[in-house]
């Protein structure tokens, strides 16, 4: 009998072209996503070496990181951004790479459109020059972010060289309380294991609370794996996965679909398979979460207080105090009731239709607080259209919100969507680093539901207060 292995091993080993002794594995890549920011230097490298793209159709391109979220039909105003988007278009044309540009009905954030189009499928190896490539792990893929040198390797050879990560399993059993979402699970895990707790590892999420998540929730959770330091995170595919994928644009059809389902059903971790590290949490212990510091591990339940610095070691305390000073908070502060200025709903973490639905259903019949500027940014054109068709746009407008056009937007503030210095933003994105949302911006990460409650009240608020 063969040894029991994890889902991660099965996919990794099945894609290893060659293992170098005492060195990395040569890993074959099934799907490669590219965008305008981390690809130009890779194409330049190819050119210098006189190489062509090995498999143009295994790569898919879309501009997302630095595009405007208003007036996308006009020429991009910022010359540098325009240049990057133009370069992406030219490179894709030269090398025959499928590209969904601005104004294409499939354009959007790379990690939103891949799954939406059915390009992301169980059992694949997937990479992109963006750390949140971990999102695709929700489908039972080995998916992770790479640097530009590696983008060049994939373009040129369809392979990269990577040391095989260790394996970690995080189990969450039980039933989530009302008002607790996948984003809260993610922020909870990182607050427990820290932003370096996953370093060197690939996470498999399991347990009944995970199985109960929708595909969109699973994507939110896997997306944030990188914030614990892990290379990526994955979830074994099941009926939920198959139902999501069926009939999507690039999903297999007819007999091929049947064959694929048969293959995908085998993608599971064997009983007794070895993990280097295991954690287990209870769904009931998780509250709606919010962060108060400058890394995603600095989070707590929304009803909580900022932990005291006294319990930390000296070197930790220096960093902790620096972080609170940046945020304008003191340790021991109660979070609820603190006034905020901006609300951002969007990004590859929470910019999918379910997120907009959750936000819209919450604010329905209520009004945006006067002190709040809100940016609601769909993750893709398809999400934008669906939001209109489902009547979400009308709900948003009635409550005083507007819907922008798809892109990464204030998640990394490369375009004009920057939170002004010193202002507080409750954001559904994934990073609260200093200056992430604009120089001096103060980010509080939370779920779309918490963001909705904050947008209505103008301050940090527990969404459960509004439940009957």
């Amino acid at each position: 009998m063969s040894q029991s292995t994890t889902l991660f091993d099965k996919i990794w080993d099945g894609h290893t072209v060659k293992s170098i002794e005492n060195g990395p594995s040569v890993l074959y890549i099934d799907r490669h996503y590219i965008h305008e920011v981390t690809s130009p230097v890779a194409f330049l490298g190819l050119e210098k070496r006189g190489l062509s793209v090995a498999n143009p159709h295994k790569t898919t391109a879309t501009p997302d990181h630095n595009i405007p979220t208003q007036d996308q039909h006009l020429t991009i105003q910022d010359a540098l951004s325009r240049n990057q988007v133009d370069k992406l278009m030219k490179n894709c044309k030269n090398y025959n790479i499928p590209m969904y540009g601005l104004n294409h009905k499939w354009q959007g954030i790379v990690h939103v459109i891949g799954p939406e189009l059915g390009l992301t499928q169980p059992g694949m190896t997937i990479v992109c020059g963006d750390s949140h490539t971990s999102t695709h792990g929700a489908f039972g893929c080995v998916a992770f972010g790479i640097g530009t040198s590696e983008v060049e390797m994939v373009l040129g050879t369809q392979c990269i060289m990577q040391p095989k990560p260790k394996k970690m399993r995080i189990k969450i059993n039980g039933v989530l309380s009302n008002g607790v979402t996948a984003k809260d699970i993610a922020l909870y895990i990182i607050s427990q294991i820290s932003t370096s707790g996953g370093t060197g590892h690939f996470i498999e999420y399991a347990g009944s609370a995970i199985e109960g998540l929708t595909m969109e929730g699973r994507m939110t959770l896997c997306n944030m794996s990188i914030e614990s330091g892990a290379r990526g995170g994955l979830i074994a595919p099941d009926q939920t996965t198959f139902e999501y994928l069926k009939n999507r644009e690039f999903a297999p059809k007819d007999q091929k679909w049947e064959d694929a389902m048969e293959k995908w059903a085998l993608l599971k971790t064997d009983e007794n398979a070895f993990f280097h590290k295991e954690y287990s949490f209870h769904a009931q212990d998780i509250e709606p979460m919010i962060t108060f510091g400058t890394n995603p591990g600095m989070g707590t339940g929304v009803t909580g207080h900022i932990p005291l610095a006294a319990s930390l070691t000296e070197s930790e305390r220096v960093t902790y105090e620096k972080s609170l000073e940046y945020m304008g908070f003191s340790d021991g502060d109660k979070l609820q009731g603190k006034s905020i200025d901006y609300v951002f709903v969007g990004s590859c973490t929470n910019g999918r239709i379910e997120d907009l639905r959750e936000f819209a259903h919450f604010i329905k019949g209520k009004k945006k607080a006067k002190n709040i500027t809100a940016w609601i940014v769909p993750g893709s054109k398809q999400v934008e259209v669906q939001a209109q068709e489902e009547g979400l746009l009308a709900i948003l407008q009635a409550a005083g919100f507007e819907l922008r056009q798809p892109g990464c937007s204030a998640c990394l503030a490369m375009n004009d969507d920057k939170i002004p210095a010193g202002k507080y933003a409750v954001s559904t994105s994934n990073r609260n680093f200093e200056g992430r949302q604009g120089p001096g911006a103060r980010t509080l990460l939370a779920s779309p539901l918490v963001a909705a409650a904050c947008a209505i009240s103008g301050k940090i608020t527990d969404p459960r207060k509004y439940f009957n």
């Binding site: 240049n83 640097g147 040129g156 330091g229």
Partner: protein, 196 residues
């Protein structure tokens, strides 16, 4: 592009004693709009180095004339966050050849190695000793020998052994990059593809 060969250096160091230095701090996103790999060093640690009016913040170590050298000493969990290779380019372009920390984020480590920037991981006690050595003498020198895999605090002759993947070590010593190697595997890759 082949990378510069790394063998040995002896240099003073710049201490950035902050934990969880993420790549958004190393190079903020608004400086990622270039389409060529040039000039990123100017914006290394931009928002820690310059204030809102673009004046240098004098007590940030990179601006402090007390400190100089090709070695950067960072706090625990260096390079977390975004996968942007620009972070490694910015450090290298600024003139750093070695980054020392008690813990590196995975993607950053890979990106550094792919660009001839050597990440040296030490224990947290050793890291404190290194910071102390700089505290005592801001121009204290350190010797980094890749062949021997040693990092030496010259003042005390304390030798710290560090780990590096043997394959990556060879690449750095020879100035090879991974793509050269992958190109040499064309046949194996084709065989793999035909089996799919």
């Amino acid at each position: 592009m082949p990378i510069e060969k790394f063998i040995k250096i002896q240099s003073s160091a710049v201490p950035v004693q902050i934990e969880n230095v993420d790549t958004d701090q190393i190079i903020p996103a608004r400086f990622l709009k270039a389409v060529e790999r040039k000039g990123f060093g100017d914006n290394l640690f931009r928002d820690w180095r310059y204030d809102k009016s673009n004046n240098p913040i004098s007590d940030f170590p990179l601006n402090d004339i007390k400190y100089s050298g090709q070695i950067l000493i960072g706090g625990k969990n260096f390079g977390s966050g975004s996968s942007r290779e620009h972070a490694a380019w910015a450090l290298y372009d600024y003139g750093f050849k070695v980054v020392v920390s008690s813990f590196f984020a995975d993607i950053f480590k890979g990106n550094a190695l792919n660009n001839g920037l050597l990440p040296v991981q030490v224990t947290s006690d050793e890291l404190s000793e290194i910071f102390e050595a700089i505290d005592t003498d801001t121009q204290a020198t350190f010797s980094v020998d890749l062949v021997q895999q040693t990092f030496t605090i010259d003042a005390s002759d304390k030798i710290i052994d560090f780990e590096i993947n043997p394959y990556k070590k060879e690449c750095l010593l020879q100035g090879y990059d991974d793509i050269d190697y992958l190109l040499s595997l064309k046949k194996e890759i084709a065989v793999f593809e035909s089996k799919e």
